[in-house]
């Protein structure tokens, strides 16, 4: 029996469209995201991230009818204190060796460590931390989500193109706010913008919507922004969603707001319809009765990347598919107007960055005129010569 299975496996390798069905199981390991958002529009749904993976699996299965491959998304949801390793083990037991990871950096690194002996492959769909692609990069983690530096660069290119080069930067008091602020500082330097002054908004608690404290926060915005040196754009670094949403129409000076509010860089927006994206948005809305957010889209794309690699390489072996995705033949269409490929030095997916005001996609970066010798997409984020990543 075993030799028969082995023979069949060989056949599959030899003939991409062989008759035996190949099953590809993909775990969806996802954290519960905070419901403490400034706008009720941003409250995550119960199937946040998972819905994207399910749609990706459905798309892959339509293709799989012709290639004798089936794709399955297996959900594993983590609550606040849950052990990520135990959840990962349960996915392994169910046969999932591809893991769509919607995890904090700490949990992602723990999962990567655990996945190593299993030969499993992780696809990060939400953590934007640059360190996961730099000093803390891992050979078994592919990053579908963009980095903070890619997001900041995408925004900076547009602001510089608009000649809004003088920025007043307001950052929140949480560690990840500082990470975003640092990315914005780097982008300003890289593209020739100037941060005229930096201010901090101290989170004293109680300012969020659920605490009925919104009025308090809103009233502090003029004070926070008055008496600033002359500037063109007000830039918010507020990943923690404490104050940024109150800056538009609340600040002292009439200036455009960008960053965590106003004009926001993102990998996906429910208003994005260019390059056939409308078709994906429609499919998603019809299936899940809600709009597709950035995490849903990254999960869909991660599932499509696994599907595309499995179709082309005719395999469900994580290492084979990883090598295929890293190779020159791999590219994926993601309704962004260009083909997306992986940066082989950090396993980061190259991608355009959408700039959204929450209603419209205002522009898409890279902006015209920002050139690069390899790919214009590499004008966004950390490029090969600067990388600190040593994959292992």
């Amino acid at each position: 029996m075993k030799s028969l299975v082995a023979a069949l496996c060989l056949l599959l390798v030899a003939a991409p469209l062989a008759a035996e069905t190949l099953n590809v199981k993909v775990g969806v390991l996802r954290e519960t995201h905070s419901r403490e958002t400034l706008s009720i529009l941003d409250i995550p749904a119960a199937d946040d991230t998972l819905a994207g993976a399910l749609l990706g699996a459905a798309d892959n299965n339509t293709t799989g009818k012709f290639t004798n491959q089936t794709f399955e998304a297996i959900d594993a949801k983590l609550e606040e204190g849950d052990d990520v390793v135990a959840a990962l083990d349960s996915l392994f037991e169910k046969g999932a060796l591809f893991i769509i990871a919607d995890l904090s950096p700490e949990r992602l690194l723990a999962a990567s460590e655990r996945a190593k002996p299993k030969g499993a492959l992780l696809l990060n769909v939400s953590a934007t931390d640059d360190r996961l692609r730099e000093e803390d990069c891992r050979a078994n983690v592919i990053h579908v989500a963009p980095t903070r530096s890619m997001l900041a660069d995408g925004l900076a290119q547009y602001l510089v193109w608009k000649q809004w080069r003088r920025w007043l930067l307001i950052k929140g008091s949480h560690p990840k706010d500082e990470l975003l602020a640092q990315a914005l500082r780097n982008s300003a330097k890289k593209f020739g913008a100037k941060i005229v002054e930096e201010r901090i908004y101290q989170d004293t608690g109680g300012g969020r919507r659920s605490d009925s404290g919104s009025v308090q926060t809103q009233r502090q915005m003029p004070l926070l922004t008055q008496s600033a040196p002359a500037y063109d754009a007000l830039i918010a670094a507020d990943e923690s969603q404490v104050f940024g949403g109150y800056l538009p129409y609340g600040a002292w000076d009439p200036r455009p707001v960008a960053g965590s509010a106003g004009l926001m860089p993102t990998n996906w927006d429910p208003a994005h319809e260019q390059w056939g994206a409308l078709q994906l948005q429609n499919r998603f809305i019809q299936t899940f009765r809600r709009s597709m957010n950035a995490r849903d889209n990254a999960a869909w794309l991660a599932m499509r990347m696994v599907g595309e690699a499995a179709t082309r390489a005719a395999s469900n072996d994580p290492e084979k598919l990883r090598l295929y995705m890293l190779g020159n033949d791999f590219s994926i269409a993601a309704f962004k107007g260009v083909r997306l490929t992986l940066r082989p030095w950090s396993l980061q997916l190259r991608q355009p960055i959408l700039l959204s005001d929450g209603r419209m996609v205002v522009s898409v970066s890279p902006q015209e005129g920002f050139l690069h010798q390899v790919s214009e997409l590499d004008t966004l984020g950390v490029d090969q010569p600067e990388t600190k990543c040593k994959l292992k």
């Binding site: 798309d59 193109w161 499509r304 595309e308 269409a333 522009s363 015209e368």
Partner: protein, 364 residues
């Protein structure tokens, strides 16, 4: 975009020189592709229309009518190919993309995607006179060589729908890959090709049995399919992959891929879409989308001869029946570029409606 072949010499649309095979060709159609919208900031310059009218002056052109679907203008623009100017604009359904003429050119079928309908435009009166049944979001269509059956790609439900033209009835559907788009019928009518944008395959379908007989993987986001008129080759453009796949329709296998290289232009900007191949099978034209160029290819050696600068975001192409001109629908610059096929020069730009997508030509 395949060229239709028929051996009925009296067909009204053919007014050009006789073909060396004793066949008449109706016209070269282009099928259209979903048009991505422009990113802000615009593209490369629109090109110089300097070479201008020289070619028109040299030889008298036959007067044909070209029809252009304006995706965001919700209209069809009619162009006189002798005067090279727009003569009428007709309001039609929402989001018109794929368009196709019937055999005698009396009716234009229009995929109005947002109305989930295929509208029928009377080309004499320029009035919408009816509808063909269609699945949701029809995008592209192809007419069988006999003119009896229309094959439609329905982008939203992964189906190719078959419609009886005379009875105006749906007579079947065929499940295909995700986001079916490009459609072409082989010159003998036996093989139907559909490309699926997200599955990345060309599905070869036997038109008799209505069964898929082969699935051929091509590069990312295949959008358009075109047969050589002798049926020897099938060309499929991959927008995101940036290549054109040449398929042997008899052996049902991929023969080779053509890639493009334009100096000082990023690979990502080169996105092949519309394809037109001359009746003698010697030369092919491929629209390259946001590269704002049409590639001229020696269709025998597959060598790229030239890149012609046209309007912005060029989608679909159509020859005039005498192959004197090739018309290109330029989605962002809202115009049609006219290429003089003999001299390989862009001779004119004709303003049309908003976001022109598809173009077909019929004799007047």
């Amino acid at each position: 975009m395949q060229i239709e072949v028929t051996n009925a010499p009296s067909l009204p649309r053919w007014r050009g020189r006789g073909s060396r095979f004793g066949l008449s060709f109706l016209f070269a159609k282009r099928r259209s592709l979903a048009s991505p919208l422009p990113r802000s900031g615009g593209g490369i310059g629109r090109g110089l229309w300097v070479a201008a009218l020289l070619a028109t002056l040299i030889a008298p052109a036959h007067a044909y009518k070209a029809y252009v679907s304006n995706e965001k203008g919700n209209s069809i623009t009619v162009i006189d190919t002798e005067k090279l100017e727009a003569t009428a604009t007709v309001k039609v359904g929402r989001r018109p993309r794929g368009i196709e003429l019937n055999k005698d050119g009396s009716e234009l079928y229009i995929c109005a995607g947002d109305d989930d309908a295929i509208q029928v435009l009377d080309t004499k009166t320029l009035k919408v006179v009816g509808k063909l049944p269609s699945g949701p979001d029809p995008e592209l269509l192809a007419l069988s060589p006999s003119g009896d059956v229309i094959y439609v790609s329905n982008e939203n439900d992964n189906l190719v729908t078959l419609i009886d033209v005379k009875k105006k009835e749906m007579i079947g559907d065929i499940p295909v890959g995700v986001e079916p788009e490009g459609m072409a019928v082989s010159p003998d009518g036996k093989l139907l090709v559909n490309t699926s944008e997200t599955t990345n395959m060309a599905h070869l379908i036997d038109t008799q049995s209505k069964e898929i007989v082969a699935n051929i993987l091509v590069d990312g986001r295949p959008r358009f399919a075109e047969f050589k008129k002798d049926g020897s080759e099938l060309w499929v453009s991959s927008e995101v992959g940036g290549t054109v796949a040449i398929i042997d329709p008899v052996k049902r296998e991929l023969k080779q891929k053509i890639s493009f290289d334009i100096p000082a232009m990023s690979k990502e900007a080169i996105q092949p879409i519309g394809i037109s191949i001359t009746k003698d099978g010697k030369r092919a034209f491929v629209a390259l989308g946001p590269a704002n160029r049409v590639a001229v290819i020696d269709a025998e050696t597959k060598r790229i001869e030239k890149y012609l600068l046209v309007g912005q975001r060029v989608w679909h192409l159509a020859f005039t029946p005498d192959e004197k001109y090739l018309l290109t629908a330029n989605g962002v610059s809202n115009d049609i570029s006219v290429i003089d096929v003999a001299s390989l020069k862009v001779v004119k730009s004709i303003p049309v409606g908003a976001f022109p997508w598809g173009v077909v030509v019929a004799p007047q």
